[in-house]
Amino acid sequence: MPELPELDPVIHGKLRLAVLSLLIGVEKADFAWLKEKTGSTDGNLGAQMLKLEEAGYVAMEKRFAGRKPQTLYRMTPSGRKAMAAYVAALKTLLGGAL
């Protein structure tokens, strides 16, 4: 029997998966937008973004929009590769459900 693939634990967390799914469709997005779309708190989202950054899946950039500081995130090429591998693993695990 073939071995079942493992799901990347960094991506598998619900909030991190939600963030990465959002970032796939955009060039970049700011923290407030990600918070609004995922309905998470500042603290939780900040902690999860840090984990994604440490894994190299997202890159952060700080800048000012007018006088307001803005934290922007974009998905890195290795983040996209990891997401593709995650989806492939999900497909294998779920068989015909996808």
Binding site: K14, S21, L22, G25, K28, W33, K37
Partner: protein, 206 residues
Amino acid sequence: MAHSDQDEGSTRNDLLQRVALMETMMAEGRRTTTRYGWLFLMWGLLYFVGMGWTLLLPMPNLAWPVCISVGIALVVVRSWQKREGASQTVRSRSVEAVWEGMGIAAVLFTVGGVLGGHGGQPIFIAAILFMVGMAHGISALILRWGMQGVAAGVWWVCGVGACFATTSQEIVGLFLTASLFGMVLFGLYAMVLERRHSAAPVQHHA
């Protein structure tokens, strides 16, 4: 939605939930958050003010420089304080680029044309009508938005009409018709759609 890092389920049901979460979030990410409707409405109204000032008020030479400067200032201020919750997609950046390019070309063409003494000529107005129509048309193709294609058609038809216009009343009528249908009413329609989209609830996954 209370996401937890410890939530690492791997049963079939959990995995299906992950798939549903990905689908919802990807669809959310693609939904543009940029609001363009007010821009069309504002520029359309400024065209009416500019034309009205030119025809009815003193110092008509100041009408267009003032109106265009006010419009540019409002756009710059708005984009400077660009909102919290911003996201940028390739499509939204493409549409912005088309209108920025058209705006720069139209301003340079207007200034050059007026200074060169061609300002009132029908073909000069026709060129402006075609330029705005082209920006609408390219946006419609990028966004695959039929109603914006209709707006482009209005500007182009008025542009063709301007090529055959013989009196200044006809030129003014064509310009105001294009501004009314291709900017003011189109802008109001876009604003209604944007309001409807923003009112649609986002489905969160617990």
